[in-house]
């Protein structure tokens, strides 16, 4: 039995059966020893011829290149560059920035913040405006009549006539 650095004829035949005649396909760890045995053995030549014949046949198997349509479809589906956020990285990395990011994960928090501020201003302006409205004169007299007229004779009657609620009993008499 011919042997080269641990490589036996049986093992070499097994390599040819599994990997074919091309040493590049043989296992790295056994390639050198197998090649050494091949160079010194005449009887292995027939086996190599058989293996090489099948290798050559297998090389004839059809193979197509990627079509232009496949390449175009993949390019169309590639990841797209996201639009850069106007928020500075410093803001995003600060704790306030992270909190804002949780509350408003859709980009800059300036937009919702502006909306909230505008609502506040509108509310304050409206409130102040309503409180400064001057009521009509006759309505004002209705509200102050009991205080002004309570000390005068017939004040109760006037108040009653003005339907003031501080004299409900009188209203029933």
């Amino acid at each position: 039995m011919e042997k080269s650095s641990g490589m036996t004829m049986e093992r070499l035949e097994a390599l040819l059966e599994a990997y074919g005649a091309e040493p590049a396909r043989w296992p790295d760890a056994e390639r050198q020893a197998a090649e050494a045995l091949v160079s010194r053995s005449q009887e292995v030549r027939l086996r190599i011829e058989e293996a090489r014949r099948l290798d050559l046949l297998l090389a004839e198997a059809p193979l197509e290149a990627p079509s232009a349509m496949l390449t175009a479809r993949l390019l169309a589906a590639r990841p797209r560059q996201l639009v850069a956020s106007p928020v500075s990285p410093a803001v995003r990395t600060s704790s306030l920035g992270r909190l804002l990011g949780l509350l408003w994960p859709y980009g800059s928090p300036a937009f919702p913040a502006g909306a909230v501020l505008a609502s506040l201003v509108l509310g304050i302006v409206t409130g102040v405006g309503v409180s400064s409205i001057v009521l009509p004169q006759e309505h004002a007299m209705t509200t102050v009549a009991p205080a002004e007229l309570s000390g005068e004779p017939g004040g109760e009657i006037i108040s009653l006539a003005l339907a003031h609620t501080s004299y409900p009993e009188d209203w029933t008499q």
Binding site: A18, P27, E50, R52, A61, L70, L74, A77, P79
Partner: protein, 221 residues
């Protein structure tokens, strides 16, 4: 006024001309970039990086599917699915953790085996058509017929044997890499290869006997 306009136009031309080498240099850099570097650019939406990555790996990915399924259209579907996964996961790719090539082979092979399993391993459409007698140049016809015979013999193999031959013989992976992808031992890969080649040798005996080869040169005479 005209002079100013011409001067401005000249400036633009000069600027564009100056940018050409820079762009060429950038293209060269991308072509030489590692897969990990390209993937990080792909994740950021860089079109050029996507193109380079496809040029580098799409053909080999398609080849795995073509050998396994025996059908160009099905193979393109698999290759497309594999690369859509690359696009999806590119931004989360961990450099240095795994080789992209191995990952692509693994995903492509799993998708092919899944598809074959769903089809019950027998698909009428996947079986190559019988040889036709269509007219044409004699040599081309012979070559085409031989290719079809070999394709038919490959498709007739059990899927696992075909997978081992695809990965080791056609894709040039080592037995260790193939074992990792197929999730079997190296010995099992070797057994699959030996059984597959034995079956191919029987199926293609007639074609092999008509093939004259030179042992010393290793090429057809």
């Amino acid at each position: 006024m005209a002079i100013t306009a011409d001067y401005a136009f000249g400036d633009k031309v000069a600027l564009a001309a100056a940018r050409v080498p820079a762009l060429q240099k950038m293209g060269t850099v991308l072509e030489q970039a590692s897969d990990d570097a390209l993937l990080s650019l792909v994740g950021a939406g860089d079109q050029k990086a996507c193109e380079v990555l496809m040029r580098r790996h799409l053909g080999r990915t398609l080849a795995v599917a073509r050998r396994m399924l025996g059908n160009g259209a099905d193979a393109e579907e698999i290759a497309q699915e594999v690369f859509l996964r690359v696009w999806t996961h590119a931004s989360r790719w961990e450099p240095g953790k795994a080789a992209l090539s191995t990952w692509l082979h693994r995903v492509a092979m799993n998708l092919c085996l899944d598809r074959l399993r769903r089809k019950g391993m027998v698909d009428i459409d996947a079986i190559p058509e019988p040889l036709s007698n269509e007219p044409g140049p004699h040599e081309n016809l012979e070559r085409s017929d031989l290719a079809r015979q070999i394709d038919a013999a490959l498709q007739a193999l059990p899927a696992r044997q075909r997978a081992a031959i695809t990965l080791v013989h056609y894709q040039g992976l080592s037995n260790i890499e193939a074992a990792g992808i197929l999730e079997v031992t190296v010995e099992a890969v070797e057994s699959l290869l030996a059984r597959g080649r034995r079956q191919l040798r029987i199926a293609l005996a007639e074609e092999a006997s008509s093939l004259h080869i030179g042992i010393r040169s290793g090429r057809s005479e």
